[in-house]
């Protein structure tokens, strides 16, 4: 089992889309994925279309006992391959430090509860507060998402610095899984320029392939289904890209 925290300190660049795209790639392959939604916006929770649930990741963090996350994990509308530790608005209460063990509560709560999954995908909120710290402390690797814009390099640098800070404080085994460039329009020279700029600084850490911008992503999210289940050329392109990224995360 490999646990991946998906983060960017900037909002709206495609963290939830990446988590859903990778969960969908696992779904298409028939391997088991757990999505942990640490974002009080609960976008991943909504897109995964779970049945009514009693508990959220906020209750798990407030409790903090070893293995307690098991009690809050639910099935999703995507079927038995993809499970969810859901979020809700009130999870924001857990975004500030509470006691000495505050940043490692998620990790402790997952102990023994996630052995049955091939991959655990953690959707972090767009900030570097206690929820993201918990995500980084519970993960084996951290995937940084960025868009190919003017702030991409700065954003990726800050996020990778945060990963390094987490590695030297709350999680010694944490590795950077790479920088994933999302919403790429290959015909835009500005996008090509920004990707080259990122590669110039971070080399192989910038993942190949990049994720293209396609309307199928939003259509599938709106319908509560994996993009891999959407029938269109754009959906196929995005699915292929996420499949390659999943390979890289699993090796």
């Amino acid at each position: 089992m490999s646990a991946v925290a998906v983060l960017s300190l900037k909002g709206g660049v495609g963290k939830s889309t990446t988590v859903l795209g990778l969960a969908g790639a696992a779904w298409a392959r028939g391997i088991r994925a757990l999505v942990i939604d640490l974002d009080p916006q609960a976008n991943a929770t909504v897109a995964l279309d779970p049945p009514p649930f009693a508990f959220t990741v906020g209750d798990v963090l407030a409790d903090g006992r070893p293995g307690i996350a098991r009690e809050a994990i639910v099935r999703t509308g995507w079927g038995p391959q993809v499970d969810l530790l859901p979020s809700e608005e009130a999870v924001a209460h857990r975004n500030r430090p509470e006691g000495a063990d505050s940043a490692t509560r998620l990790r402790v709560s997952l102990a023994g509860a996630v052995d049955g999954y091939d991959i655990v995908l953690i959707d972090c909120p767009p900030s570097l507060d206690e929820l993201t710290r918990n995500g980084l402390a519970a993960a084996d690797s951290a995937l940084v998402v960025t868009e190919p814009g003017f702030f991409a390099l700065q954003g990726a640098t800050r996020a990778l610095r945060a990963v390094e800070a987490a590695r030297t404080s709350v999680n010694l085994r944490l590795q950077p899984a790479g920088v994933l460039v999302n919403r790429v329009r290959g015909n835009l020279s500005e996008h090509r320029y920004r990707i080259e700029e990122l590669r110039g600084v971070y080399g192989d850490l910038v993942l190949n392939p990049v994720i293209p911008e396609r309307s199928a992503v939003q259509q599938a999210q709106g319908a509560g289904v994996p993009v891999q289940a959407w029938r269109s050329p754009g959906a196929a392109e995005v699915s292929d890209a996420f499949d390659d990224i999943l390979d890289r995360l699993l090796t």
Partner: protein, 103 residues
């Protein structure tokens, strides 16, 4: 793997039904529908006429009465500490918690 200890039961966080900014009860259930937890809904009853505007205006005013309930001392201590931290009366905080929890 068999465990020697009983399976732990998770409960809702004390503030799980309070809005993170206003500290007032959340008016709407989480996405995914009304929750089913130990047979009880933790969201406000639709019959109360809760709308999203209630998050800002708070619940309708109601008369306060005595509630002769005994609770563990440690719970009272945590209630008072949390009320102090939020700058509200313990009566108000307890009312909010009960109001949000009860069907």
């Amino acid at each position: 793997m068999a465990s020697q200890t009983p399976r732990p039961a998770l409960s809702r966080a004390a503030d799980a039904d309070l809005h993170p900014v206003s500290g007032r009860p959340l008016p709407a259930p989480v996405p995914g529908g009304v929750k089913e937890g130990k047979g009880k809904s933790t969201s406000l009853k639709p019959g109360k006429g809760a709308t999203s505007a209630d998050a800002l205006t708070g619940p309708p005013k109601d008369k306060y009465v005595d509630l002769g309930a005994r609770v563990p001392k440690s719970v009272r201590k945590r209630l008072r500490a949390e009320a102090k931290a939020q700058g509200v009366a313990a009566d108000d905080l307890l009312s909010r918690i009960l109001d949000a929890y009860l069907p």
